[in-house]
């Protein structure tokens, strides 16, 4: 790098900021930036401009190019599996920092002593029990709100697939529902996918020879899964579902558990 003319080095810094350098060159430029103040300043100037190029792809107000309505519920279901209990994570205060009151241990001890002096141990026990009940009630209330939100998302989908205008194509373990251009797979009694595996939908476009990979999903505890497929139902000939490794496959690697021709 040190033998490279300075203007060429700056060109490489710009390519690095845009992410168009081959991996080996990127590593070389990254190391150079660490030790060269001028190139570091150039990178600091150009990297924001490069990142902003991505903003031009934002799909604001363009419903035809927005993610499906089931994407958010699917992600949120995964997130809530490992979320903290609502009691330690207050909800609906997104404009202000989360302030979880934490009492220093000495204050807690002092409070306990004061309470012990002023009241009987019996009263302390009652207070603790009351606090537990209040916490449980708060947790139940928040959880109910979450479930109501999920239910609203799913209800809008269900109303579409239950519409009298929908065409139903029944297969083993589930059915495919077409409503105008929209296409859904509704599975029932689906066994849990083996560890490290998920279910993946496949679509065969009319006139196509090969199945195209579609969304991956897992059923809920009842074995139910409803998936909105991001293809035009009117242009689709067949829908299939198979078990695939997490992350999905480019072509089916197992025998499909569902194959439904749409005719």
């Amino acid at each position: 790098m040190s033998d490279q003319p300075y203007h060429e080095m700056l060109d490489d810094v710009a390519l690095y900021a845009l992410g168009t350098l081959p991996a080996a060159d990127a590593q070389r430029v990254r190391a150079h930036i660490e030790s060269c103040a001028e190139c570091r300043a150039e990178y600091a100037a150009l990297a924001p401009a490069a990142a902003l190029v991505g903003v031009t792809a934002e799909t604001v107000g363009d419903l035809a190019n927005c993610p499906g309505t089931l994407l958010k519920p699917r992600i949120m279901r995964e997130i809530r599996k490992t979320a903290a209990t609502p009691a330690s994570a207050p909800a609906r205060e997104l404009r202000s920092p989360a302030r979880v009151p934490v009492w220093p241990a000495y204050l807690v001890a002092a409070a306990c002593i004061a309470i012990a002096i002023a009241t009987s141990l019996y009263n302390v026990t009652l207070t603790t029990q009351l606090r537990d009940v209040q916490n449980k009630l708060a947790a139940s209330t928040t959880r109910s709100s979450q479930l109501a939100g999920n239910l609203a998302d799913e209800r809008s989908t269900i109303s579409e697939i239950m519409s009298a205008d929908s065409k139903r194509f029944t297969g083993n373990l589930g059915e495919v529902i077409a409503n105008g251009s929209k296409l859904y797979v509704a599975m029932h009694d689906l066994p849990a996918a083996p560890r490290g595996k998920v279910y993946q939908a496949w679509t065969l476009a009319k006139g196509a020879k090969d199945m195209a990979p579609s969304l991956t999903f897992v059923p809920d505890s009842r074995g139910v899964a409803i998936v909105a497929l991001p293809v035009d139902a009117r242009l689709t000939d067949t829908v299939a579902v198979s078990v695939e490794p997490e992350g999905g496959s480019k072509a089916p690697t197992s025998k499909p558990v569902l194959v439904v021709p749409l005719n």
Partner: protein, 178 residues
């Protein structure tokens, strides 16, 4: 936007699902848009969007401050590149996911995260500079491939990309301070 995102990420680190949901609502169209532009198919773009936000949840420590919007654009582009690589052998580099020191222009632009606003700035560039920048960012190809496809000498492509980025920076400076 920046302050809110910082606060929300603090809460995400404390496993607050509501804070995560607020981040998702504010940025999912940006992530999906980048992925859709790069991959060209809705299914792949949804998968990338899901992978990016799951990563935000499972590895919030990877965000080390700076502008959240800029950071998540980099994550989205890199995940979409992974998909492109799985479809065909490619050797292009990823965007560095750690950010340079907080930049006022970036912060202001992302605070008003308005695709049309940045599109206008990009449209002010001459085509010979804008095209290799867009091809490099969204096409996920190296400058060498850009030169080969366009039949332009390698050195010229490099210079045009740098000139274009500098000019974009200037246009954004002017627009933000106007």
């Amino acid at each position: 936007m920046t302050e809110d995102a910082d606060v929300l990420m603090e809460r995400v680190r404390a496993r607050d699902a509501d804070a995560f949901e607020a981040l998702y609502d504010a940025h999912h169209r940006l992530v999906y848009g980048v992925a859709l532009r790069m991959l060209g198919d809705a299914s792949g773009a949804e998968d990338v969007t899901q992978a990016v936000f799951i990563k935000v949840w499972t590895s919030p420590e990877l965000f080390r401050g700076g502008n959240f919007g800029a950071w998540i654009v980099r994550i989205a582009r890199n995940r979409a590149l992974d998909v492109l690589r799985s479809r065909a052998t490619r050797g292009e580099s990823e965007l560095p996911e750690t950010l340079p020191e907080t930049d006022s222009i970036e912060s202001v632009a992302f605070a008003h995260i308005d695709a049309q606003y940045v599109r206008s700035a990009l449209a002010e560039l001459p085509g010979e500079q804008r095209e290799p920048i867009e091809l490099g960012f969204f096409g996920g190809i190296t400058h060498e491939e850009i030169a080969r496809r366009s039949g332009i000498p390698l050195g010229t492509v490099k210079t045009r990309i740098r000139s274009g980025l500098r000019k974009l920076r200037t246009v954004l400076d002017r627009t933000v301070t106007a």
